[in-house]
Structures are given as structure tokens and as C-alpha cells.
Symmetry: C2
Subunit: 456 residues, 2 copies
């Protein structure tokens, strides 16, 4: 009756070394979250369907995993509806719960539900898996972790400054050089829309502009014209075609360009404050850049927009992102609570560290010493020392069976255990151990105290 075992597509098993590497990244992020004053919360894996449905657009609704009601669930569907065999209409009758799709909506729900227990501004972080019924492909999974930090209850731009510093500290701690934190502001985009005379063309505009590197100025203009952006509008935003230089030069260009747009100028002012402040508290290993083509999450961000780019040369999409949203909790009835947050892309950061060989060798705390099992008496003698070593935080093990020496050595070899400890009659008599260094092949005799020193 044996089944050939497998797992659902888009999901993953993580082996010990993979868990160790993922934990290394998550712990690094967590440590900085905490140093920056963020507190962890956790929400249930599934929410009531009406908490999630309608929050991510039509496409999002389709990608939410629904959980079937228990018991005789079909009994509750009325016969006429049942007769229609219409999946889309019957779903809400046979499924009342759904798996978390992201951490943002559950966070908003949490804030509203627990508002009386929360001291605002509330700085929370959350590292939990989310699920999406997306078509699986390279680097896209149906179950993956999100690592989010958000502040709600303050409109202060000091938060944006702190988040940029937080990104910098995490990537610096991970040893990742050359990361760029790209920033934009929704108000800049609105200003551009004003200048080109049509908000509905804004996406077309940024998409075309983003191709500047590839197709050149003429190519971009051509695309813009094709999308119905007028010649005169294009002329007005010409400075964006040569949007180079350091951030302060870029700020100056934007000031010129957006002078006629009140909202645009407000965006420039916000960007300027952030950039000037970061200049006073320099970043360690990342750099901050201004990217007016950044239109990420345009529908809900209202202020700053962030996106983090992997070092040049590593082919990888963004490894983080975030921004400010002025009315996140409004959907659950709590108005006027501004929030700003960032997210780390765990899976992609993993791939980048792997590609650049940046995981420390010590990432997997593995066994330092394997004691060979020569039989009952010898094993007991060894096990006593194993426990002594563990008390000193040294990972030590006794091979469980008194198997052939060869088999036990092979096990140590395969698991890359650096020291094998042998204790037979003569060692027991002299209260010592023969210690074999598996790398050099040399053997030495020593007592427990010396062994402990060697392994530390």
C-alpha cells in the first residue's frame, strides 16, 4: 500500500543546512528589528474569509487559498444555488476561512481589533509564512515567508529615515555590499501626472521611462507618443530623460520640473528631508538613490516608496520594498492611522547570499565530536563525557550502536564532524580519550579537561 511520497507543487522541504541558512538571515533581520525598537506579533495562519477577500483585487481573491468547512458542508448550500454548479458562487457557502495572503492585511486587522491595548505609535515586526495559489515558477512559491516591519500611528518622516537605516544595517550585517535602496514618493508621481496632464497615463509613462537604459531617449519618446502622451507633455518632463547625478542634483531637477505642482513639490520636500538626514547619519554599506520610475504598489502607497536592488551583477529582482500608506486600517473601520513599513524578500536574499558565497561557514551549528560506541561499558564511559561537554555548550554525540568501527567513522566523515573520540579499555583505565582529528588524521591522547579546551 506504499505511496510514492511527494509534496504539492510550489512548496518546499527544507533540509537542515537550508533551515540553518534561512534562520541565519531571519535572525539577522530579527536582531535589527529589535534593536530599532520593533516588537514581534503573530497572527493566525488562516483568517475569516471576509477579512481577506476583496483586499487584494480580483486577481488576489483568486490566488487566496480557501479552507473547506468541516462536516457535511454541502448540506448548507441551498439546492437552487447548488444546482448552478457555479464554483465562484458556491465557494463562500462551503468555505469560511482562508490562508493568509500577506502580513499587511492581518496586521491592519490586528491593530483595529486590539486598538485599546496598543500604545501608538506602534512598531511591530512579523516574520511568518504566507500562501498564494500562484503559478509556481523559478523563485516563486506557493508558500513563502514575509519579513515585515511597520510603524502605525505617526506621520513623521523620521520613520522613513529609520527604515532606510534599518535596511542598511541588515544588509551590512549580512555582508552584502553594493545594495541600492531606491526611493520615490507617490506625491512626485502625482506631480508628474499633473505636469504631463493626465493621471491615467502615469503608469504608461513610468513603464516607458524605465526603459531608458535599454532603448534610449528616442525609443522612450516613441513609446510615450504611442501611448497617447502629447509631444508638449514629453517636452515638459525632459529633465527626467537625463535623470542622473547624485541625489541632490536629482532633487534640483525635480524642483524645476514640478514647480507648478503643489503636491509634487510636497513630495520633493519629503524626499529632500530624508536625503539630507541620511547624509548626516551615513549608511554603512548600502547607498540611497532616487528613482522616479519606482511605482511599486501605486494603489495604496501615499508617500515614500522604497525598493531595494541587489548588488549590480547579481541577476535578481528587488530584495525588499515598502512605503507609506495613509489609511491602512480604514478597511476595518479605524480611520486616520498613517503607517509606513518595509519588507525583506527572504527567498531572494537567500539566493543572492548563495550566489556571492556570503553565508558564514559557521552557519550550521553541527556536531563537534562523535564518540565511538565500542559496547555497553565503553559507551557509558563516553556518554558521561558527552553530557559534560554539552554542559559547556559543545555539541557532542555518542554513536548510538556499537556498529563496526568503519561504519561509525564513515558517519563522522559524511557529517563532517571534525573530531572522533575513542575510548576503550585502556583509555577507561587511564581516565582519558584518544582524539582523532578528522582533517589531519592525527591522533592524540588527552583527558576530558583538555578535550573540552580543544573543542571550544
Amino acid at each position: 500500500m506504499a505511496q510514492k511520497p511527494s509534496i504539492p507543487k510550489g512548496t518546499r522541504d527544507f533540509s537542515p543546512i537550508e533551515v540553518a541558512k534561512r534562520s541565519y538571515i531571519m535572525n539577522t533581520i530579527k536582531e535589527q528589528f529589535q534593536l530599532f525598537g520593533f516588537h514581534p506579533i503573530e497572527t493566525p495562519s488562516f483568517e475569516n474569509s471576509d477579512t481577506l477577500m476583496g483586499k487584494y483585487g480580483e486577481e488576489g481573491d483568486r490566488l487566496i487559498f480557501k479552507i473547506l468547512n468541516s462536516g457535511d458542508y454541502l448540506n448548507k448550500v441551498d439546492d437552487v444555488l447548488y444546482g448552478s454548479k457555479d464554483s465562484s458562487k458556491i465557494t463562500s457557502k462551503i468555505s469560511e476561512k482562508a490562508l493568509r495572503y500577506d502580513l499587511t492585511v492581518p496586521f491592519a486587522r490586528y491593530v483595529v481589533q486590539h486598538q485599546n491595548d496598543i500604545d501608538f505609535p506602534f512598531k511591530r515586526y512579523q516574520i511568518q509564512p504566507v500562501w498564494r495559489a500562484d503559478r509556481p515558477q523559478k523563485g516563486r512559491f506557493r508558500e513563502f515567508y514575509q519579513c515585515d516591519a511597520d510603524v502605525v500611528g505617526s506621520k513623521s518622516l523620521w520613520q522613513e529615515v529609520d527604515f532606510i537605516q534599518l535596511y542598511d544595517k541588515v544588509f551590512s550585517k549580512l555582508g552584502l555590499e553594493g545594495v541600492t535602496i531606491k526611493m520615490n514618493n507617490r506625491k512626485i508621481l502625482s506631480g508628474i501626472a499633473e505636469v504631463i496632464g493626465a493621471s491615467d497615463k502615469l503608469i504608461d509613462f513610468t513603464v516607458a521611462l524605465d526603459k531608458l537604459d535599454k532603448v534610449g531617449e528616442e525609443g522612450v519618446k516613441k513609446e510615450m507618443l504611442a501611448k497617447g502622451i502629447s509631444e508638449s507633455a514629453i517636452e515638459k518632463v525632459k529633465p527626467l530623460f537625463n535623470f542622473t547625478g547624485d541625489t541632490s542634483e536629482k532633487i534640483n531637477k525635480l524642483k524645476e520640473l514640478l514647480v507648478s505642482s503643489e503636491e509634487g513639490m510636497k513630495g520633493v520636500e519629503e524626499l529632500e528631508f530624508i536625503i539630507n538626514t541620511i547624509a548626516e547619519i551615513p549608511l554603512d554599506k548600502t547607498s540611497l538613490d532616487l528613482d522616479v520610475t519606482l511605482a511599486r504598489g501605486l494603489n495604496y502607497y501615499t508617500g515614500a516608496i522604497f525598493e531595494v536592488a541587489a548588488p549590480e551583477g547579481v541577476k535578481m529582482g528587488s530584495i525588499g520594498g515598502g512605503g507609506r500608506y495613509d489609511d491602512l486600517t480604514g478597511i476595518f473601520g479605524l480611520k486616520d492611522v498613517s503607517g509606513v513599513g518595509i519588507s525583506f524578500g527572504l527567498d531572494r536574499i537567500y539566493l543572492v547570499l548563495e550566489e556571492l558565497n556570503l553565508f558564514p561557514d559557521t552557519v550550521a551549528q553541527s556536531t563537534k565530536a562523535l564518540f565511538i560506541n565500542f559496547g555497553k561499558e565503553e559507551a557509558l564511559y563516553s556518554l558521561k563525557s558527552v553530557h559534560q561537554l554539552r554542559r559547556s555548550n559543545i555539541v557532542a554525540e555518542l554513536y548510538p550502536d556499537s556498529a563496526k568501527m568503519n561504519k561509525q567513522m564513515k558517519y563522522a566523515n559524511k557529517r563532517e564532524i571534525p573530531f572522533v573520540i575513542l575510548a576503550g579499555a585502556s583509555e577507561m583505565e587511564n581516565d582519558n580519550f584518544t582524539v582523532k582529528n578528522m582533517q589531519t588524521g592525527t591522533q592524540e591522547t588527552m583527558n576530558l579537561e583538555e578535550l573540552e579546551l580543544l573543542l571550544k
Copy 2:
């Protein structure tokens, strides 16, 4: 359009302090798992339904949360079956995935699926949530964590010894005194069944015997007779009615009782080895006891059976359990792989530590210093120091808004932040800070270096 937010019954939100306390327990367990040479794995939250269904009995099948297929899932149900409106038959047509019900079956699946990459004996630990559509009640949830450690690929009793030590070390590290590790052996139970002349009466027998404390010897006998256990059988196992004394006395009683049962004597021998070995490597804060009424998981354990009892006086069921199973991976086609494992009951351990007030005060790493925000210039001056302090692993924050002093102080108070730092024009001029101790109310002026020393 606001919804009143809530979460599904049987699930929980965890606040920052709850997450911190849960992490404290999980990290303590994890640390010992690693010291004992166990490696972490993780498996997907949902498995293919056929991996899980049929593995937990009929009741278990009902309690497994099923995930609805995506798209027009009803389209794939043939019309005759659909017409039956029979939930139990239609489920498998509209749901191909299900949420993990425990960590044991996914672990068995993992071992079989990855057998070629695994070096046996394989020592793994796994700390992940599981889901059960159980009726929620006090202390029973629909989403909860399991913390398991198992070894597969060795029949050695040294493993059982190591697991008892592992229990001891975890509960000792948690500062929990008076925990009892109760042990039995499936072979002892089989021996008793032989002696009382009926294996089918074994459960009735242990259930009745377990009431000895409450109803006395006569009460137990009465129940046994009522259940159809003969007078002469009861006479034979009379020593169990006075099953007191230390473990070696208990062993002697069992030897007398089970002398006629080969399997029973094998069980006694196994118990004796474990008890004698533990006597040589004494436990720190827990004690080992022999409990022949322990029949936990009778259907799959084949050797040792463990159950951990909270300290006397704390009203709480078992806070851990485990045992040896000789054919876990057989269900997935890999025969003859013996395993043994234990599990920690996170939620109950949490309640015990809470009741006994055993969580360390330092469990939540919270903000040490809040810098008051007096406006742009002052905030920048403060933020520079905030970053300096964070570099020294001190959790420091700048209040994000230049709100009224009173509001900022209130925030510090509510969040129990021990030091509030004030820097206005005069401090900026003298390159120092006014530091207010929130507990004593005293104020002091000092430079950054002194502040760093104070906060460390």
C-alpha cells in the same frame, strides 16, 4: 463598509509579550536540541491529501483541514456524484491538499522522499504549527505549535537515555522543578495482557488501574471485574496494586509478575537498562518514574513510552510525550526503519511557567532609552546618538513626532522604558544629554560615552 474584525475560533493573535515568552521557550528547547546533535528540518504547511488521509484514524481524517482546489473546481466533479450532494464523497474531488495535522507523518514522508540524501541514524528536530478542526476549548486550539525531536535508523536504547536527558536539560534550563518523566514500555503492556489472559482487555485494565489513587484497591477490582477481567487474572497482577517504591523496586515487582511472558521480560530488561544508565548520569531537576498505566499512543509505539507530568500542584495534563515506533516510514514504503522521538507541549509549558511565575524579567528585549523629540535640529542630534547606541546593541529610539512633552513621557511610561533622554539647545551646545531615570525620577547630565555605559 467597515467590518468588525475578528479571527476564526480556536486561533490566536500573539501580542509582543506573548511572542517573546513563546520564543523564550522555543529557543530554550531549540538550543538543547542542537546541543544534543539534532538538526532542524521544515516541511510545507500543506501536504497532498493522500499523504495525510488515513494516517490518523477515522476521527483524525475528519479533523484534518482541507484546502479547496483553485479555479472552477466543481467542473471536475462528475454530474452523478455531484447530484448525490454527499460531502464525504465529494471532498476528495474538490480538495487535493490539506493542512499538516502533526509533524510525525510529514517527517516520515520527508525521510522516505529524501532517503538518498540522509545519513542514518538521522536526528532531526522540527518546530512548526499544526492544524486540527477540533472543537476549541480551554487549552485546545485549532492552530498550535509542535516541538518534536526524533531519531530514525537505530534501535539503540542509548537514544532513549539521551531523550530522557534532553527532557531533563530543557526543563532544568526553564527553571521548572518537580517535573516527572514517566516511562513505560509497550512490551510490559503486552506482558500484562498475556498475564491477564486477554490483550483486548488491556486498555480497560490500565484505565481501571489508573484510578487506584481515587477509588482504592477494592474500587479498581470492582471495575476490572465489571469489565470482564477474571478474579484469577486480577490475583496474578496483584503486585501492580501496590506499585510503589523507587524505580528499582518497581523493576523487581515487574520481574516477578511478568516472569512467564517473554515479551514482558524483554520490556523489563529495556526499562532496567535505561534506569540503570540514568542512575549513572544523574538528572538535574527532573525525576524518572515508572508508570505501568501509561498507554499513550498504544497503537503505534512498540517500545519505550514517555509522558512528562508538570510539577505536582500545577493542574495541567502532560507537558510532553513520546516513544519508540518500529515502523513509522513503512506507510510510505521504507521498511524496517526504527525511530524514537519526543515532543514538548509548548502551550501547556507556557501556562505552567506563567502560573509559577518562571518567565525571566528579561524575556522581552525592550527599549532601553527613548529620546524625546523637540523638533528637527534636536531630533537629528538625538538620532545620531540613537544609531551609535544601536551599534553597541542597545535598543534605543527617537520619539517620531515633536509632540507635547507630556505625551512623549506618557508613551515611555506605558511601554516601561527605563530611561528618557532629553537634548535641547543647551545639551547640544555642550555635546551631552539630560538623562531621566523613569523609576527613581532623578535626572543627570552626561555625555554619550557615559550614557552608553549606563545603558549597558
